[in-house]
Subunit: 187 residues, 2 copies
C-alpha cells in the first residue's frame, strides 16, 4: 500500500523516535546533539516528514499538550520499525558523501604565499579542534536527556569516529605547519 519513498531524513526521524524522542522539536534537538555532525537537518524538514510518515502509517500521532501549549507526540508503528530495520539491513551503495569547504580550500592552497598558507592551515586546524571538542562534549553531557539511554551502544561509537576524523586533521596539519615553518627558516 502507498508508495512512500523513504529518504535518509525519514530514517533519521524514525530512528530518533525509536530512541525515545517524541515531538518534532525533540527530534530536532536530539539530532542537533548527535547526528548533526554527519547528517544535519532543520525543523522545516522534520515537521513535514513526520506528517508524511503519519499519512503512510509508519508513525502514529497523538495529542500531548503541555499546559495550554499544543504538542504532538509520535510513536513508531510496527511498519515504521520494520522500515527502519529494512534500511539498516539494505545494501550499502551509499555516497558516503563528504562535503568539506575546508578541504576544498586546502586543496587549492598552493595559490597562496607561504605566510598565508600557514594562516589557512591554522584556521582549519583550529576549526577542526573545535569541531572535535563539540562532539566530545555532546558525549559527556549527552543532551539526549529524555532519550532512552539504556542499550544504546552505537551513538558514542559514531561520535568517536567523528572525533578521530578531526583529530587526524589536527595532527596532519600540525606536522605540516612545522615542516613549512622549518623550510622558511632555511631559505
Amino acid at each position: 500500500m502507498s508508495a512512500i519513498k523513504l529518504k535518509p531524513i525519514s530514517y533519521m526521524v524514525l530512528g530518533m523516535l525509536r530512541l525515545g524522542a517524541k515531538s518534532g522539536y525533540a527530534i530536532k534537538k536530539a539530532a542537533d546533539a548527535s547526528t548533526s555532525a554527519f547528517w544535519p537537518t532543520s525543523l522545516a524538514q522534520v515537521y513535514p516528514e513526520l506528517a508524511r510518515l503519519e499519512r503512510h502509517g509508519l508513525v502514529t500521532r497523538h495529542e500531548d499538550p503541555h499546559g495550554a501549549r499544543a504538542r504532538s507526540a509520535y510513536v513508531l508503528t510496527e511498519e515504521g520499525e520494520a522500515a527502519l530495520r529494512a534500511w539498516l539491513r539494505s545494501p550499502v551503495e551509499m555516497p558516503l558523501q563528504v562535503r568539506s569547504e575546508a578541504m576544498l580550500r586546502l586543496f587549492f592552497a598552493d595559490a597562496l604565499p607561504r605566510e598565508d598558507q600557514l594562516a589557512l592551515m591554522r584556521r582549519v586546524r583550529e576549526h577542526s579542534r573545535d569541531a572535535k571538542e563539540r562532539i566530545h562534549n555532546q558525549e559527556r553531557r549527552p543532551a539526549l536527556d529524555d532519550l532512552d539511554v539504556a542499550r544504546i551502544r552505537y551513538p558514542p561509537i559514531v561520535g568517536q569516529i567523528g572525533e578521530g576524523y578531526y583529530d587526524s586533521i589536527v595532527e596532519r596539519l600540525t606536522q605540516l605547519e612545522a615542516e613549512i615553518e622549518a623550510e622558511q627558516s632555511s631559505d
Copy 2:
C-alpha cells in the same frame, strides 16, 4: 562592479583553471580525479558556472577547436585570481559539513540484532576500504595529466587526510566487530 555571489563551486572552477584545466570538460574530469571525494560536482554545474564567471569578468573565454569539434578554453583574469586568493584568505566560518548515510545507519544500529549489526559494520568497513583505495589510486596515477604538476603540494596532502579518515573508520570497525563477536561466543 557587478554583485556576483561566489560559491564553493565557483572557487573549484577558478582553482582548477589555475591548476591548468582549460575546458569545462577538463575541469569536471580533474575534479572527479581529485576534489570529488570532498566536493563532488557535475557538468550541469560547471558549464553554467563558467558562463557566469565569464559574464562577471573573472575568466575569459576563447575558441579552442579540436578538429571539427568546437571547444572553449578559459583562463583566469587578474580579478579571478584575486577572488580565489581572497577566498583562501577569508575567515573560516565553514560548515565543514559531512553528510554520511553510512554513519547515520551506524548511529541507529542498536535497532538490529547482533548478527545484522555485524553485517552492517562489515558493509560499511568494506565501503570505506574501497573509498580509501580509490583515493590512493588517484594519487599514484594522477589523471591530472594535463594539469600543471609542478609546484603542487596540497592536493596530495588533502588526499592523505581523506585516506586517513577512511582508514580510521576501518580500524575502529575491525576492532568493534572483534569485540562483538567475542561477546556473542561468551553468551
